[in-house]
Amino acid sequence: MMIESLKYMPQPKEANATLAEHFTDLAPALNARQAAIESSRCLYCYDAPCTRICPSDIDVASFIRNIHDENINGAAVGILKQNILGGSCSRVCPTEILCEDACVRNHDAEGQPVKIGLLQRYAIDNMTITEHPFKRAASTGKKIAVVGAGPAGLSCAHRLAMLGNDVVIYEAKEKSGGLNEYGIAKYKLTDNFAQKEVDFLLQIGGIEIKHGQTLGGNVQLKDLHVQYDAVFLGLGLGASKQLGLTGEDAPGLLAAVDYIAALRQADDLSKLPLPARAIVIGAGNTAIDMAVQIQRLGAEEVTLVYRRGFDAMSATEHEQHIAKENQVRMRTWAQPQQVLLDEAGRVRGMRFEKTAIVNGRLAGTGETFEIAADAIFKAIGQGMDEKSISDPLAKTLKRDGDKIHVDDQFRTVLPRIYAGGDCVAPGQDLTVQAVQHGKLAAHAIHQDINGMKEAA
């Protein structure tokens, strides 16, 4: 994938093999002995806080007990029956604000939660199941269209297939996996894991994936609605938010997600365009992923700028720590004011205005400063790609802000059309939650469309 906006940039100095070493597992996997020691620390809580907080309802205490009892396959299936993407979730979940935060061993006296994420990964990576662990129920004769082969769509498709339905997934990109394939930092999901996981998931059968199918482009919701018994929208948030400044389209300024996608897909990291000095704007995990990855590619100076303080960052403390460890400079309380361009119209830096809370609201102080940079990466959040829901039927979807409104069964206001993942209102930008949405929506779809049949 070529990044048009940066094509004039130099390339990394190091060879691909050396660069690849900078993108190996950030948190190395546990070996058998480490897993034995770590699993022995689990107290096997009743009504366990880790499970209660898990967005995908994984019975954590149970799978850890199975690991300790050397029943790795049992542990893995226990995870997968709640979360078919348990492998990628074990790698990308912000466990520090979920299960590991809730772990009772995180109590004051100890302050050392059980490494639940790494144990989950251990179970999935070391299972020796040869056949797909889940069997399909008798065919319902129903066919469901799923839009988007990201975590929500894949999870929904798998569960629908398991319940006896046939599924066709419409995916715009060349590969399945969504953000697991294109959006997560390379060192969090190594060794082509996202594709392996998709392959595993598809083993259940009854799922067809059509690539190059863009909703609002060559696929229209109104047609899917007619052709299928139900439609699930797992669209994600495809549009990067804009700064709203002049020069937004200048060479050298682009969305962080586009660069991360290119990095994730690059066969040769040394061929990537690499700015010597980069600015990353934002404070979410994507901003951190961007800053750390470009630093690891060999950028000399990476500055992450955020308009509020550290406490307000949506990137977890753990993520902030990763950024600091990777020598990312972090500048808080400053907002973009002007994109600075050179004579050729390319980015040469950015002017920021310092900010402060005035009368309870964030406001510019009038004081400015400039940071010289060869590239600016926007990571200020993602929004709905409006093009994708632009056909006459899609336009009638009820919205909550720019997200799609759904009820607690993930039904949109349109009959037989469901949605889940980041594109719906309850979305929290978590892979694990998208998986849960997909799973629950599948049950709702199955019940609704097959219930209808019975009623008729």
């Binding site: 034995a36 020691i37 809580c45 009743y46 009504d47 366990a48 806080p49 209660r52 061993r105 006296a109």
Partner: protein
Amino acid sequence: MADLSIEFCGIKSINPFWLASAPPTDKAYNVVRAFEAGWGGVVWKTLGEDPAAVNVSSRYSAHYGKNREVIGFNNIELITDRSLEINLQEITQVKKDWPDRVIIVSLMLPCEEKLWADILPLVEATGADGIELNFGCPHGMPERGMGAAVGQVPEYVEMVTRWCKTHSKLPVIVKLTPNITDVRAPARAAKAGGADAVSLINTINSITHLDLDQMVAFPIVGGASTHGGYCGSAVKPIALNMVAEIARDPQTKGLPISGIGGIGNWRDAAEFMALGSGCVQVCTAAMLHGFRIVEEMKDGLSRWMDEKGYKSISEFVGKAVPNTTDWKYLNMNYQVIAQINQDDCIKCGRCYVACEDTSHQSIAQLIDAATGTRTYEVIKEECVGCNLCEITCPVQGCITMVPQETGKPYMNWTQDPRNPRAENIKVTETV
């Protein structure tokens, strides 16, 4: 620091920590290392008649805890596999080089008086401080009519003990097997035979675990296995009870006891002593950690004694015996109730599920509607004071069992009106 020296059935020892008759005391090299490390004495690994026993490979297996700590240990090793002559020579030399340390010689022979009469003078000539009769070995040797095969028949115990007292002036310690219904019977027999002391427990018949692929127990010897003798911390509760049984038996009261069974630290040793052991013997802990553990054992015991004001070990030997009684003499009016310290509680829910599923439904799970936080509270009216919640709680001291003021006097089961066979005349009075 408190004085750790003891005198045990006439044998003076610089401290109460001896190594039990086992692999660690098999030869001079090991014993010298033990004495260098500070052990007060050893019971030399059991001698028998020539030709010496022959051992198999492999020999040990273990029962593990959650984090691979060894909870119990199992062995199928026989008595010494070295010749009597070499052992006697080494004992003589070591005793000569270490005059302030105790060497007890463990013996096992068939039940023929002549064999005992022949060997005893040889043992005496080494300068050893005493003999211990191995009536406990549960594996291999009983098949040949020795070890536990003798220990399980009180008449044999008494008979062999008497032979030893007849043919030797050395103090005789009779080592008892736990593989018996009532350990008091062989203890009484030993006393009747003239024993100067008993030592217990020897190991317990055991199979620790299996290889489920090969369908064979451990330790594996060429595709088969046999039961071994179980020791290590897992057997301590069994040993403590047997020691207490003998200590509080009117017929054996006062008979010196050398406590053995899962002792690995000073506290274990103190517990055995409090139940009547004048000295203790250690094996498994040393086999797992080396002889150096005696250093912490001595230090810990003497500091505890200082703290408690005990100047010598004899001051607390047997001190817990009067408080060890029959069930029927326990106070039926005593009542404890669990109390959960909410500040220490980590909300793991273990006490709740344990009580709810398997006990008396005496803990309530309260769910905060706003935060979902769980709180666990004791329902006092339902709590019978069983200790289960306290036991399953992973936080030490979080759950305590609090004695209640019942205002009722001591009343044991023999006095209890609810006892249909109450011995006390008061029952009829209250009816």
